[in-house]
């Protein structure tokens, strides 16, 4: 839309000759414009589909709304489960990713840092089904003792109220898997941001007699602050939409609101609920699931926009 407004101005500024002779420019400009419009068109198409197919669900109730009085009381708890699991994943991934990225960018000698960086990137290539299998077979049983410990010591926090699940396939386990899945993208972005800290800033801190950690606190982290927020929000976006791993790991009770993340009564997430129920759905139930998809779409959209906004607003000029 903005392109269409700007176009006449640019053409007036350019001398006629430049416009006729540079064929390559014209081809490239049209191609780029086409690609941009295609993306916008696709996104709009998805949004329109979700709205048209999702809105009839507002009439659903009872059996069609999976036993809930209205579609809101079905989608609401799912939205809650989605946000809770993703928020927990973010809490877990933040220190891991910042530490890992700092090791790669500032602590490890380049002989070590490069392979570690590649390995983290490779983690992104592991299919989510594999993460799901690993979560069920390996992680979940090993989480049970940790849950017991959390319940013993921090049972007064509603999150760890218990009773502890025997299978370990709880929302917290799903969050740990989500955190590991978001780790590569968040680490990769953080690593690049940390590495971009101007040398002059780092030398300024070191010359004042800062240790390496003090230098990082003084020069690197302030410089990277907005980028860190953006990276974490992108990671959050990844966790929000993840389907397969959650659907496999989480033994969900259905659409309930439960802050208890270590018991066997678990809130489900939107993506996992759609994946689990869509094959057996018919009639208005399909619309209900699509409506849930619309809610997820709006949520991820908002998170991504927030990330971009923070990234552009807080940029520090060096």
């Amino acid at each position: 839309m903005t392109t269409a407004i700007r176009e006449p101005e640019q053409q007036q500024e350019l001398p006629a000759r430049a416009r006729t002779t540079r064929v390559g420019d014209a081809v490239f400009r049209r191609t780029a414009l086409g690609a941009a419009l295609l993306v916008v068109g696709l996104l709009a198409g998805v949004a329109i589909f979700l709205v048209i197919q999702g809105l009839p669900a507002l009439d659903a109730s009872g059996e069609q709304a999976y036993g809930k009085p209205s579609v809101w009381s079905y989608v609401g708890p799912l939205l809650f489960g989605t946000i809770l699991s993703s928020a927990l994943a973010l809490v877990i991934v933040t220190p891991l990713a910042i530490g890992l990225a700092l090791v790669i960018s500032h602590y490890a000698p380049s002989k070590v840092a490069k392979p570690v960086g590649y390995l983290v990137d490779l983690l992104a290539a592991v299919p989510s089904v594999v993460f799901g299998l690993w979560g069920i077979a390996v992680l979940a049983p090993r989480m049970v003792p940790i849950f017991d410990w959390l319940n013993d010591w921090f049972g007064w926090i509603p999150l760890f109220a218990g009773p502890v699940s025997n299978s370990g396939r709880t929302l917290l386990t799903a969050s740990v898997v989500l955190a590991l899945m978001a780790l590569p993208i968040v680490t990769a972005i953080l690593r690049e941001i940390f590495a971009q800290t101007p040398t002059t800033q780092q030398e300024a801190a070191l010359a004042l007699g800062a240790t390496r950690w003090e230098m990082i606190r003084m020069a690197v982290l302030p410089y990277a602050r907005s980028g860190m927020v953006a990276a974490l929000l992108l990671g959050l976006g990844r966790a929000l939409g993840e389907t397969m791993a959650v659907a496999m790991v989480l033994s969900a009770t259905g659409a309930i609101i439960s802050f208890d993340v270590i018991s066997s009564a678990n809130s489900n997430t939107i993506a996992a609920a759609i994946a689990n129920n869509y094959a057996n759905a018919a009639g208005l139930k399909i619309n209900v699931l699509i409506f849930a998809g619309l809610a997820l779409f709006v949520l991820t959209f908002a998170v991504n926009f927030l990330g971009r906004y923070v990234a552009t607003r807080g940029q520090v000029k060096a």
Binding site: T200, Q201, E203, L206, A207, G209, M218, Y223
Partner: protein, 259 residues
């Protein structure tokens, strides 16, 4: 607090590459010593070896001795962080911390050294350092504004204020005026003259007039040939260096007949 520096048989390496070879010199306390020479001859490298800043580059190391009032800088027991707290440095491009106010920039070094500081004490340090850097009158009404909002010359004086706030024994300056206009340069040169009474100053400069104006002693560095290590050609009192140098190469460089 100003101290003298002795350098003897100093070789500086980047990995296996010998960058500077066989430097011997005595830098007097409370004086200004200038390093001049063509690009790539190692004068900045020598300067940075005086507070162990060159070690920031992986693989950089030295052989030989650097002592500050008899205390060796490169003893295995000496922590480079402690060295840098006593030997301050000002860089080629002004580098105030972008997210900090003018006030916090001045105190950055003090905050590292002592965690707790009373407000009045901090105010005193800021005022004294900014006055010492001839910047107080220009910024005293906007101490809480970001340091990046100042002009280039003011930013460089802010960096000098930050360096002297911790009362170092020596102040190293790596081409501190090369990114500044003539008026700001003149302000910094005046400041160097004033700081001389309290600090030992070592300055690297590409501007020979500047070396002649500000320094008491001058060291001329050169390369024997491209790819060869740099070395110290001549080290003498500045008036003698510029009027009647001992070495022909020095005279050729100073009079512009270099090549």
């Amino acid at each position: 607090m100003a101290k003298s520096i002795d350098v003897s048989d100093l070789d500086i390496y980047y990995g296996d590459f010998l960058a500077v070879e066989g430097v011997n010199m005595h830098i007097k306390a409370r004086s200004v010593t200038a390093f001049i020479g063509p690009s790539g001859c190692g004068k900045s490298t020598v300067l940075r070896s005086l507070n162990r800043m060159h070690e920031v580059i992986p693989g950089a190391h030295v052989q030989g001795k650097v002592t500050v009032d008899g205390q060796s800088l490169y003893d295995s027991a000496v922590d480079p962080v402690a060295v840098r707290r006593q030997i301050g440095m000002v860089f080629q491009r002004p580098n105030p911390f972008p997210t900090m106010s003018i006030y916090e920039n001045v105190l950055a070094g003090n905050r590292l050294n002592s965690k707790k500081m009373k407000k009045t004490e901090a105010d005193d340090i800021v005022e004294r350092s900014l006055k010492g850097a001839n910047l107080w009158n220009e910024v005293k009404d906007r101490l809480d504004k970001p340091g990046m909002g100042l002009s280039g010359g003011q930013q460089q004086r802010l960096c000098i204020a930050r360096a002297i706030a911790v009362e170092p024994q020596v102040l190293l300056m790596d081409e501190p005026c090369s990114a500044l206009d003539p008026i700001s340069t003149s302000a910094i040169e005046d400041l160097i003259h004033e700081l001389k009474s309290d600090y030992t100053i070592v300055i690297v400069t590409h501007n020979m007039q500047q070396a002649a104006r500000v320094s008491d002693e001058t060291g001329f560095f050169n390369l024997k040939a491209a790819g060869q290590p740099g070395h110290l050609v001549e080290f003498n009192a500045t008036p003698k260096m510029f009027a009647n140098p001992d070495n022909e190469a020095t005279e050729a460089y100073i009079s512009g007949r270099f090549g």
